[in-house]
Symmetry: D5
Subunit: 154 residues, 10 copies
């Protein structure tokens, strides 16, 4: 297998502070150790939270991010800190979900990436947002995210 691709990271292992703004959060990347083949990486983040820009009340979402790396992988601890940086910042559901994807695309330049944002209901009607970027290379296997729909009660 490959060399230690994590040796130059700044945030992994050391003490870390939750960044207070997504824009200033550092998304680190590592060399793709299997860059000669196409494969999919899925991150599931059931703990996403931001604030409603209209009311400053907390919003919550279950996020699932899939991507096909080119030369770089997302370093998962920095991803966690980046997502945590939304904790005290305002964000609309549609805009926020798509923006997270675009920031990741900027940082790691993947062959393909998608995000599913499954937001907790406010007012009885939850919003889900599904965004995909790029083209899936031929032969790549891409399972459904399979997150259950909202069903109210009963």
């Amino acid at each position: 297998m490959s060399d230690n691709i994590y040796q130059n990271l700044e945030q992994l292992g050391g003490a870390t502070v939750l960044p207070d703004d997504p824009k200033t959060a550092i998304l680190e990347s590592v060399q793709n150790p299997q860059a000669d083949v196409d494969y999919v990486v899925r991150f599931t983040a059931p703990e996403f939270t931001s604030l409603c820009p209209m009311t400053a009340q907390p919003d919550f979402a279950h996020l699932v991010i899939d991507y096909i790396p080119d030369q770089l992988l997302v370093e998962s601890k920095s991803l966690k800190l980046f997502l945590g940086a939304f904790r005290n910042h305002g964000a609309f559901h549609e805009d926020c979900t798509v923006s997270i994807a675009r920031r990741l695309i900027d940082e790691i330049n993947p062959k393909w990436l998608r995000i599913g944002g499954y937001w907790y209901p406010r007012g009885g009607i939850p919003i889900d947002v599904f965004y995909a970027f790029g083209e899936v290379p031929k032969g790549v296997w891409l399972p459904e995210q399979g997150v259950a729909g909202y069903r109210g009660r009963g």
Copy 2:
């Protein structure tokens, strides 16, 4: 088996109009055809809706009612109309759930009765209300209602 216990009912079979107030809705009853033994009857009403008395916005609930009849059974069509009468009336969750039970108790004088009100979330934190009246006679079998808890998303 028993004679036709439904022969004197007014609402069953004929044309019916949804009553516009729970207080004036008629809850009909029929003779318990097996009144010499104790058993439990469960009604499941996944379609309950009322209005919030503060905002006049619709509220929804999944209701489950269990009772042990004495001399009378609830006639199910009149129960449906009674529950339908909440459609355009204001009702707080705790108060509404317990009140439905008390009205039924008044009408059919059961040995025991309980109601579970599983309300759809407003503001992220749903309320469930559980009320029981009377004492379960010895030897009666009473299964759990088993309605799933609220789980948000993911």
Copy 3:
């Protein structure tokens, strides 16, 4: 183990005709091969159907019957024919469910018996009926029936 307790049965193995009335259906029994201990037998009948005595339209139910035998076991093929005899006969939900139990009690005189009748919805509000007869002997193990509640859609 025990001798062949089924050797005197009339309906098992031969050609059978669905009886056209529950009252005339023959419920056969066999000697309890383990009569010196207490245990529970459960029959699950997801295919019960009768007619509504008011409208002659079909009704359906999922039935679960538990009992603790004394000297006799219910022979399962005759039970199937007995339940099948309701196919073209009228029966109210509460009355029908309890009556099935009482007929079984008459035939096999069990130490204890219960029935759960889980009726398909008519008009949006299904009825479940739970009836138990007798006293559970000390030390007997009696699992819940665990039939899922009705949940509408979604």
Copy 4:
């Protein structure tokens, strides 16, 4: 991220009254903050209710709406009020479901839109309605709605 796209809305935040007719209900829209990419927005409305035009009895449905915005997003509070306006109006299942979609298409002119209407059973046989409008742009990711089928009891 984008500017506050919600600043000109009339219904958001202020006091609102449930409109008494879907035709007069106001469906508001906001500028799509990510209009340079294609993505899917899903609304799940498990609390839809209307009246049967033949009998005036309540009907219930679980609705799921998916769309790919062009220049406009549906404002979710006005969607909630629009759906709430069916509360006391008559609507047939097939017609009602497709009509909701067409009204939305008129208002926001999406690239693509679909609706799934999962109606609660009346008479034992529920109706589901599935309608899609437009063509899904290449590369868009569109998960299944995944609403469970109706299963009766047991």
Copy 5:
């Protein structure tokens, strides 16, 4: 929305008798109120029952019917009566399932139709039958029926 498409029906609302033969059962239709677009209608009938032509014992099935209407919709009460007409008639599983579809095709001439017949097990190995007629028009959305496979016990 559309005019009352149900005004000329014979069976809806009046007293009805379960027909005693599928061949003589009347399948009524109504004008498609949204005939200028393509959409799918799904009926779920978890209560189908017929008799085995070899043994005259009851058979049961969970049926799901999907179709894309052209000029006509199936009227749901007449569908219920048509399916109920199998109650005391013999039918083999494969033949019966396909025949129901063909009768519907004859009556309403849909653009496309399919049926899934999920039969209860006899002898430990249940049979499912899947039949589709016609071609799905481009752009129509057609969800899976998603009925769970048979799993025996445990």
Copy 6:
């Protein structure tokens, strides 16, 4: 039913700010409108978040609170704000869960109260905390919380 028990509340309806400390958050109460009977109220809060006091990283929990009111009910919007006040404060799992219960007990003096804290895993081994206060009055019905255990993957 009862008078409007919510008329003197300060936070309901008006603009609210998330309090920045649980200690200073105001938990409002309302008169129990059904104080002459015993019943259970359940709040389900799937969106609880606090910070780890050792690392300042976010923690998450699914909380379920059950209580039997005496003279007072918890006002649900103030409960939401109280729980939201943990958003940027440090709290250990066992301590935090029990403390929330004790604060509620102080404020509304219930006949009985319990809390289930189902914490998201950190390091592979999640912690659940279950605390109950007081004695359940005779005859009260108290369903299980029924939150699924953690199961890892697969």
Copy 7:
């Protein structure tokens, strides 16, 4: 519907003995009563068992067989006896699963057939085998088998 296609069968109805070798088991067929259309028949056999050829210990599998008949249908009782003939014979998982399909193909010459063999774990790592023969005719509807993956414990 069609004539009785089962009239010439040898094993149906009479006394049958479990054959002691799959090779000598008789797989009977009947005329396809709907041979002018294409449809799928699914058999689910959750009770398959054979012996390990290396150790003679029992193996178990859940089998699902789908096929599109041409002129012949598999007679289901003979299928059951054929599968039962593996009870005391050795068979490797991959080989056995594919062989069952090939025997069926030989006997009924279907337009298309597939088998899913879901074997119980031995040594912690279960094997599933998926084999399909032929080409699915245009327009045929073929649902997924949807058998749950193995998940160990927890």
Copy 8:
């Protein structure tokens, strides 16, 4: 922890042959390594099969056995061989299930033991058998077996 309690076993590790009669199958036991405390051991055997004594057709069951050991534990490989010995022997459901328990009681003399036999359906109505022996010592924890009920199709 304890010494190797398995060192004197005959069947563990060596070549084994499936015994051809439950009566002659050897049930081995080992010393209880924690005999100074009370605890429960559960075996789950989803692969039980026997023959019907009337028809010689295969029967299948999912068995769950719980016991509280006294001085001896059941050795699990010999249990597997004992259960496998029913493979070609006739056994009625009620009798067979209770007999397995009694044989185990004879061999290891437990403080308490129970068996749940969940039989696959024959004729549409499956039988479950629940038998318990002895008295559960005070303070022992005994979870439900939680095997799902039979639900037919849909």
Copy 9:
């Protein structure tokens, strides 16, 4: 709330090495911050693995530990290391499960403790072990562990 009860720990936060023997692994404890009330703490460890002492092959289990603390809480990171110390050591299922409980009892002297060990199958018949120590104080709330039974395939 309480002071930082974790300030004297040795393993939390610093670099840690998986201990190579359960006997030498250090189980740390912290002062119970709510020692004046009774409550339950549940640890769920779905990642337990040890070696079979007979064959040196890996075994796996899903463990759930519940306890009612007296003066001490288990520190969760040291619990993780203690459980990890079984990774390369031999342990029989019954013995291992009970031993883990007894070690915990020795270290923190709880009012009550129980462990459920849900072992992955070897040879088709998994073993579960349930052990409880002590007496549950009056009024404590103790939910079921609710781990699903093993079900084989299908």
Copy 10:
């Protein structure tokens, strides 16, 4: 069926030792007994464990491997030993998952192969890895792996 394809294996049946390095573990193969047709073999390994190369702490994964054999099948016991060889070796999630697939491809030269690695969460955000090699031949049936997504708690 085919001859005994396992007769030349070294590890099957004899005593085996867990190899201490994946690189030196021997992956054995057997002749494909059905090499003239295309089919899929699925291995499900819910018990995979390795060490984190950064911290030496244990990692866990649920692995599912699908392949279409050409001339060779993977021998399942050697696969188990190969996967077990990761037990005390360091491996990053993305790299490890893809490497396992590549080693298998090297050994058996399949027509097509894929692996799904479903890793247990560390830090709240689990990683899944999906890799496929080769081209699926026309007409091959390839079911989804269907492993549930991670959902946190509640």
